[in-house]
C-alpha cells in the first residue's frame, strides 16, 4: 500500500522509522522525503547517469531497511541516510573504476541540472558553465577532499553532521576541509578560466 503525502508529512523522521518497523509501507515515506536531496548528492559525488544514481539510491535504501534497527536516535536520520548513500555511491564508483570507466572521463552535463539554485543571479549560461567547471575541478580532487567540500559547501552540513556521515572525528573534518580548500584553490589558480563569470 502506498501512503499519501499527507500521511507521510504528518510524521517526524523518528516516527516514520518506528512506523516502518511495524509496517513497511511507511518506509516509502522516508524514501520520498529524502529522494531528491540524496539523488542530487549521489550525482555530486560523481555517479554520472540518472539510472545509476537511482540504482545507488535503491540499493542504499535497501541497506537502510535491513539495518533500520541499527539507527542511533542520537543522530539525525538525514546524517544516517547520507552515510549509507555515501558508502553505496563510493562502492559504485570504485566498481566502475575497476572496470576501467573512470567517472572523471565521462563528464555528463545532466548531473548538474539541479545545481543552479546555489548560483547567484547572473547570466544563466555562464553560471551553469562555471558551475560545471567547479564540479569538474571537484572531480579532480582526491576523494577525501572532494567529499568534505561537497558535504560542507554544497549540502550545507555542519561539522557534526559531516562527522556523522563520514564517521570521522569533528577535528578531522575541520582539518580536511582546510586542506581541501587549499587544494581547490591551487587547482583554481592553475585553471583560472574555470571560475571566470
Amino acid at each position: 500500500m502506498h501512503l499519501s503525502k499527507e500521511i507521510c508529512g504528518q510524521l517526524s523522521d523518528r516516527e516514520l522509522v518506528e512506523k516502518s518497523l511495524e509496517q513497511v509501507d511507511y518506509f516509502s515515506c522516508l524514501y520520498e522525503r529524502y529522494e531528491a536531496q540524496l539523488l542530487r548528492y549521489v550525482k555530486r559525488m560523481g555517479v554520472v547517469t540518472e539510472e545509476e544514481a537511482e540504482d545507488v539510491l535503491q540499493e542504499a535504501f535497501l541497506k537502510a531497511w535491513k539495518n533500520l534497527n541499527a539507527f542511533d536516535p542520537a543522530l539525525k536520520l538525514s546524517s544516517w541516510l547520507y552515510r549509507i548513500v555515501h558508502n553505496q555511491a563510493i562502492s559504485c564508483l570504485r566498481k566502475k573504476k575497476s572496470f576501467g570507466k573512470d567517472q572523471r572521463d565521462e563528464f555528463d552535463d545532466r548531473r548538474y541540472a539541479n545545481l543552479q539554485d546555489e548560483a547567484p543571479a547572473a547570466d544563466p549560461e555562464v553560471l551553469e558553465r562555471t558551475d560545471q567547471n567547479i564540479h569538474k575541478m571537484l572531480g579532480e580532487l582526491p576523494l577525501k577532499y572532494k567529499e568534505v567540500l561537497v558535504l560542507k559547501f554544497l549540502e550545507n552540513m555542519s561539522y557534526e553532521e559531516i562527522s556523522d556521515v563520514l564517521k570521522i572525528p569533528e577535528g578531522t573534518v575541520a582539518t580536511r576541509i582546510n586542506r581541501a580548500k587549499k587544494a581547490f584553490r591551487q587547482l583554481a589558480e592553475q585553471h583560472p578560466e574555470n571560475l571566470e563569470v
Partner: protein
C-alpha cells in the same frame, strides 16, 4: 512505477526484514567487552614491563666492554612490550568500531587506552601481581625466557666484572659465593660499596660488581641485593649506604 513503490516491491519480493535490534546491541556490547578485556590484558603486560625494569640493571650496560647496545636490547622485555602494543591496538580498534567510536580522534583513543592500562598495570605491579604472573608464565611457557633468566645471564659474566649468587660462608672481609652455575668463589669486599639492605648473611643472594682477582677469586667494588629495589622495600632498609669490612 515511482522509485519508492519500486523499493517497496523489492523489499516485499525479497521478503527482506530489518535485522533484529538485539543483533546490533550485542555487537556493540561485544566491542566494549573487547575494549575492557584488551585494557586489562594491556595492564597486565604493562605491570610485567614495570617489574622487568625494576629487576633489570640497565645501567650496567654502559660499563661493559662489548656491545652495550646489543646487551641493552637483549634486556628489554620485548615479549611484554609487543603484548602491550597489541592489546592497545585491540582496545583502540574496539572503541573505534563501536556505535559512536568514530567521534574519538586517534590521539584520544591511544591516550585513553594507554592511560587506563598504565593505571591498572601500576596498581597490579604495586600489589605484587606482576612478579607472580611473570613466574607463572616462565613456568608454563617453555620458550619464554623469564626476566630472572635474563638477569642471571647478565650477572654471570665475571670476566666482564659481573657476578651473582648465594653467600654460602662468611668471613672477615671475605665471603664464599656460589654462583648460578654452581661454581664457588672467594669474594673480597674490603673497599666495596654495600648498601644497608645487604646483610651479608649465609643464604643471602647478592650481585657483585668488580673484577676477577685470581683463580676462583673475585674482588668486589659493589655488593648489591639480588632482588633489586623490591628487596629493599620488603626488608625495610632505611639508612644510607656504607662500607662494611
Amino acid at each position: 512505477m515511482k522509485p519508492s513503490e519500486k523499493l517497496l516491491q523489492k523489499i516485499i519480493e525479497e521478503q527482506s526484514e530489518p535485522a533484529p535490534r538485539w543483533h546490533f546491541a550485542v555487537k556493540n556490547k561485544l566491542l566494549w567487552l573487547a575494549f575492557g578485556l584488551a585494557v586489562v590484558l594491556g595492564a597486565l603486560a604493562f605491570s610485567v614491563i614495570l617489574f622487568a625494569i625494576q629487576q633489570t640493571d640497565f645501567n650496567i650496560t654502559s660499563h661493559l666492554s662489548h656491545s652495550g647496545l646489543e646487551l641493552f636490547l637483549g634486556l628489554l622485555p620485548f615479549f611484554w612490550i609487543i603484548m602491550l602494543v597489541a592489546f592497545l591496538l585491540i582496545a583502540m580498534y574496539s572503541v573505534q568500531y563501536s556505535r559512536r567510536g568514530y567521534k574519538f580522534t586517534l590521539a584520544k583513543l591511544v591516550g585513553y587506552s594507554a592511560a587506563l592500562s598504565i593505571l591498572l598495570g601500576t596498581l597490579f605491579f604495586i600489589g605484587g601481581g606482576a612478579e607472580r604472573l611473570e613466574q607463572a608464565f616462565a613456568l608454563n611457557v617453555s620458550i619464554y625466557e623469564s626476566i630472572q633468566e635474563k638477569k642471571v645471564r647478565i650477572w654471570s659474566m665475571p670476566e666482564e666484572g659481573y657476578l651473582a649468587g648465594e653467600i654460602v660462608e662468611t668471613g672477615l672481609g671475605t665471603f664464599r659465593l656460589k654462583d648460578f652455575q654452581g661454581k664457588e668463589w672467594t669474594v673480597s669486599y674490603q673497599d666495596a660499596f654495600i648498601p644497608p639492605v645487604v646483610l651479608l648473611e649465609r643464604g643471602e643472594k647478592v650481585k657483585l660488581v668488580g673484577e676477577i682477582a685470581g683463580k676462583d677469586e673475585f674482588a668486589a667494588s659493589e655488593v648489591r641485593p639480588w632482588g633489586g629495589v623490591g628487596s629493599r622495600m620488603r626488608r625495610g632498609g632505611g639508612n644510607n649506604g656504607k662500607k662494611k669490612g
